[in-house]
Subunit: 223 residues, 2 copies
């Protein structure tokens, strides 16, 4: 009669004790004192387990006051999502899972806030959904690329000779890039998410405005 709650509790215990990399179906089953395959009766697969953990985690993120311009609310909320994901090592394992967004639990307000912000700014609801979608893509990409680059234990050969994103790049074919010397190699250290996000949001909102100029979205009921 092992319940979902007990499973998640045991998983958290395991993660706290041995680190989340050591979390495995087998170890979790052992921790619970049940057969390995029994776990599969409460959880579809490992991805599902991690998604459940994520829901639990997301439920604890408090909803802050977000006054200000719609645009600023969007940016602030996206940054919140980003920071939460970045602080959350096992997010990268499931970030692209189907329905990840739907597993945000209590934190669906993040999605709603972004969509509502876009509508308030003058987007149609359809455009607003796309605004969220693009922000999501960008955020996921940023998290995944950076997370992957970060978890490398400093390859013996190249002791972090610069931006891992570009490591091994054949610079002899890139005259325009090389023109700035080796400075570009060190740009990775900066946290570039805020700028990129701002640019994306600005671009999206401008795009929506020019697609339907001067028009305030009317939330018409569909079907």
């Amino acid at each position: 009669m092992t319940s979902r709650a007990e499973i998640l509790e045991a998983a958290r215990r395991l993660i706290d004790r041995d680190g989340w990399e050591k979390l495995s179906i087998r170890r979790l089953a052992a921790e619970l004192g049940i057969g390995t395959m029994t776990l599969y009766h409460h959880v579809r697969d490992k991805e599902d387990l991690l998604l459940l953990l994520i829901t639990e985690y997301a439920d604890q993120v408090p909803q802050p006051d977000l006054p200000g311009e719609p645009r600023d609310r969007i940016v602030a909320t996206a940054t919140l999502i980003h920071d939460a994901l970045a602080a959350w090592p096992w997010a990268a394992e499931v970030l692209t899972a189907d329905g990840f967004v739907g597993r945000l639990g209590e934190s669906v307000w993040m999605v709603e806030t972004i969509v509502a912000g876009a509508i308030d700014h003058g987007c149609t609801p359809e455009q607003a959904v796309h605004v969220f979608r693009h922000i999501w893509y960008y955020t996921v990409g940023e998290i995944l690329v950076r997370a992957h680059s970060a978890q490398r234990p400093a390859d013996a050969g190249r002791p972090t000779d610069g931006d891992p994103l570009f490591s091994g790049l054949d610079t002899s074919r890139m005259p325009r890039l090389v023109a700035i010397g080796d400075r570009w190699r060190t740009l990775a250290a900066q946290d570039t998410y805020p700028q990129g996000l701002r640019a994306l949001v600005d671009g999206l909102l401008a795009q929506a405005a020019s697609a339907a100029p001067g028009e305030t979205a009317s939330a018409e009921r569909g079907e």
Copy 2:
């Protein structure tokens, strides 16, 4: 005396015959008639093998003429990268790998073209590198999320009831989204990459312009 070229050839053979999902270190070794662990002398790990395959593939992408505005060159090149990655099933397995960009082989011109386009538009070289970086994040996110959503064999329970990105979303907490009815569920079918990319690029270029207004980048030599 198994060479890298032979390994890659055998890998391609295996992929053509059984599909790339079936490609494994063990099967590849068997195909080559060598011991499994021998492969590890020519290839660091599986990720490295896939990156080698990617270099080979990328080398075959022809470099097109890209006239027009710098902005359009950037967008066109990014779209080319995106489409290549999307057409390339095993890209998702290594897309976030360190130095992926450096494994583009002959296709480094893609990186150079984007960086050069940004500089030609008035960005500083540092800004141009960031332009590429943000485009890369967005593209990777788009590819990974969509790739993951696509490879699901239509869950028995929910026969594709809409956008997999949002599946399971608690819409009762999203009044503004629900206001458009269920239409938002079907928006996923559209290819939204071009719009998002355009918005991102526009935003990035506008941001760079406002950071250093009216200034044309001077490619000063660094260090």
